[in-house]
Symmetry: D3
Subunit: 231 residues, 6 copies
């Protein structure tokens, strides 16, 4: 697992996150102003858009722009990333500003949504730091009230497993995405029995594994953010 | 909570399910044949489409047909309903047939997706019985290998609560949808911290409450299905 | 034929209208303000949207939201309903307010568009009464300057027939929709020879039958509106 | 009123029809084969598409291709033209062939839909003659079993008037389109009270006027078709 | 080659341009105001939209409005026409006004984009003259700072050829569109080797031929514009 | 300028091409079969799709998938890349196989389309080599009959300049893209006067510069392809 900050020159924050063969480019764009439905309320907005390049996967898939519509899976993941990041944002402190996180999967081998959340958090932190440095938000305001990391866990052959790659993922009996704060609380728990329904005990094992995994990722994020950056 | 079977005259199975002021019309359509990507594999398909009438809610919302695109929320819920029902279907036993569950929310007051799953299961059971009676699937085949019910639980004012209505739902700190089989195992667990992240202990309380709620709904479904029906 | 007022809890006016097996849910939504092209003219707007649930019919049809576009038939009927209702509205008296009539066909067995017009009128009357009661429009203003009802008539086996159900409708040689005011004048006459063209004499018979049918429906509407309503 | 046959070089039939300042280009395209839902039934299909150039009207309107969707009015008129022409077609005699009538309004000054029908009939007749000459349909088969013409009539200032131009049309109290066969029977009658509802007597006057108008147009069509054409 | 001015009654400028069997109707619409991104800059805007009627070609093609999206070729040509015309417009002198050139191909036989540019220039000149006559732009302002004409040239059988018609065009080894000002300078040069790549020498021959061709067209445009016009 | 081959693990050919700050990821996907309109002709197909990530540019732009339609610029460039590559492909030798080149701009600083062509050629060569190694096309068949490279040249301050970066590009008086084969012939020449029209002499200077630039790129491509690759 590798986090490369400032992979892009233009974005206010950007991270190339690599999890095994999965590679996601997360770009944070800071803009002044908020969507119309939030105007005049003194609060900011953080949102996300997830997409996959056509040849990120083993066989090429059609572009959603060419099909003229966004699929359900894309919508679902974009919403998940947005919700996850907003959980650690104080929108009052952000002021009437918007940060959009673009998470584009350059190569996919399982766990793209959790990699996207984990990487996007770092890009978000950089974008906020950039905005404070530029005076776009008050120096003493701190919109970032925590950190976020995510893992996928699953049941393969009856056993709880962390970080499924694509072959595991597609054969897993249960696939669960867990998003946690840096202090070990849950933001999102989303588990689906693809095959056999699961019982409370297995669910407990999955949550234990996820808690451990998120805690490790939180360390990696801290380490990456601790390095000095000349943007 | 009320389940009215055969609310429609044409559909192979249909249920009007009412949960407080929430009313969802679930219609099961049985058709021979399967989508192209399943052809020749000898297995059937069950899928769902969820939608809301424009004035189901307190203020009117625009039709997705008029906007020309389906929103992320609609996609997300349609996929959830389809996954939940497929968990209790033996697609081999179904043969190369398709059942589509249309879940249209006539009136919404919280918990529409869980009401839809709970009602759709009954419509699905009726459609399968109809198909067996008509000889569309073999009499001895039993595609239905279990039952499914769903509840929403949430944390309101720091306490776990069952069946949130709309005012509760929109102020809940955490909102969780739980889909379970009739024998008490989990098909889907999907919890989101809208406000404060939640810890393992609260999560446990939510799951307890959900288990109890799904068990009650399972009883209601059984009772409804036990009544003789002259279709 | 049955008119059930206030079938919905949220809408300003709502009617479930049943004509044989045809069931249409008509919801009237009153909102302040008008579309952009009417702003500042001191007049209101009444419009309608018609749609069919996918399993309203004998075989399931695809959702227009999924197809991403509204079909010609839907457009045509929505426009007809809107025009018919505007014929009995004094838009000046309505002020700069908009009423949208959503007519959703829950089950179809012929005559859905005429049932929709007949039911929508009652929902419209309730919405206006509600707006006056709430002071959204002046108590002494009366935007409703008449009543509207509609029937379908046709030629089946060479004879003029009232209220075609689906089997008749699909075999009718001529199908005509007639919209009339409560005082017996025509708002819309729309007749199409599906098979043999028709002559002036048969047209006369169709109009006689329609006049009688609309007059009966007007009575039913009056009776329904005369009942006290505790909304 | 002027009918110019063979205005195009490629189309199997084509007519530029001019009614006052209204100019509609009608092109009939004959192709072998039918839409999927008609395959193998031994019958043909005739359909129409109506559209307006952006600057056909007094002020420019946006292209429907740019907007990405076809409006209700366009749909409505396309369907009307198609229905009207099919009324004089024996689809069995046509065999499994399709004729598409493209009616593009180059300039509009009222009555575009009725001009389109009247012109399209002539283009259709030419396309059928062409197909017989080319042996695409049997020489002894005659798919054309009658002729079709259409007029618009209306009530302006309380009086019935034939052939409304745009200023009359937009102020008419009632606007009615009447489509008739060459032998004086009705194919379509579509009248709408834009202002005051109309009574049976005025309706009778409109129909008298329309009958006379269609009869004149039928003569014009015959004269145009009687001229020898070297395509 | 024939240029007919004022082919339409409503448009501020309109030209039917005929090049062999190719016929393009060019309509210039002058409106006050500019697109949002230009507001308040004191400059005007000239843009173009190109389209083909479905039966302009030898076999019918589907309407882009029906398909719900504009194809790449249409986009490409619309952009080319707009760029070409803007090259001879002083947008400051135009003031905050917009001129849209609609170029609709009524019949196609090669060279539709170059015919469109050549005709659209004349329609543009007429629209500007109209706007000055009406006082919509200052009498002493002259937004038109030159003239534009365009030809297509190509290599057929190894030889450079001017004005390819459709059979030549579709077999040409290289197809080049050249847009020039009336004083012999280049606005756009766009050449594509469909078959064999071409060398610098052949490119030179193509440019010579194009220069001569544009010069001839410039003469025709001048002659057409010199005729007195009673609009 | 840097070419990194095999940047992706799944694609049959892939290149990350960097030109200054411009970075384009080119992925070549080889699939058996051809589009419907080519079936049974014994020839293959090569096509391309170009897109930009939302934050490739200095300010974020909306995703075309979210807008639901592809813009004219994207269409134009995709078509240019496809045409350019097909110029060096012997489609007979390719057999009934398709290669799609996805060119996704990760970061943009001018010259993205020419970088895409130059990089896509290398990915295409690798995909063909892969297909031969896998026996998907005959070992002795050689679909690649030449090489392709592209540069942008322009006139800045009256002087011809090679490889415009974004600030130059947006102020250039003329912007020209030139695509050439490895043996120095032209595949595409596309020059547009953004400001002042240009004369034949300046055009000659641009072509000289482009010829030199393409020749240098051809060397780079050869060097990159000469390196042994363990895919």
């Amino acid at each position: 697992m590798r986090i490369t900050r400032n992979w892009l020159d233009h974005a206010e924050g950007s991270v190339l996150v690599e999890f095994g063969r999965t590679r996601v480019l997360c770009a944070a764009s800071f803009t002044e102003g908020v969507p119309r439905w939030l105007k005049g309320k003194g609060t900011g907005w953080v949102t996300a858009e997830y997409a996959m390049l056509p040849r990120a996967t083993n066989t090429r898939s059609d572009r959603e722009s060419v099909k003229g519509r966004i699929g359900g899976r894309t919508h679902e993941i974009s919403r998940l990333i947005g919700r996850s990041l907003r959980a650690v944002i104080d929108t009052k402190a952000l002021g009437e500003n918007t940060i959009v996180l673009d998470c584009d999967v350059l190569q996919a081998d399982g766990g793209t949504r959790t990699a996207a959340i984990t990487g996007a958090f770092v890009a978000l932190a950089d974008a906020i730091e950039h905005a404070r440095a530029e005076g776009l938000i008050a120096k003493k305001a701190q919109p970032l009230i925590g950190s976020v990391a995510a893992v996928s866990v699953g049941i393969v052959g009856g056993r709880a497993v962390l970080d499924l790659d694509y072959p595991e993922d597609s054969t897993a009996e249960t696939d669960m995405n867990v998003v946690m704060t840096g202090d070990g609380r849950f933001i999102e728990v989303q588990g689906t029995a693809e095959g056999e329904p699961f019982d409370r005990d297995l669910l407990g094992q999955l949550l234990d594994l996820a808690t451990k995994g998120c805690s490790d990722l939180t360390e990696r994020q801290r380490a990456a953010l601790a390095e000095g950056v000349a943007q």
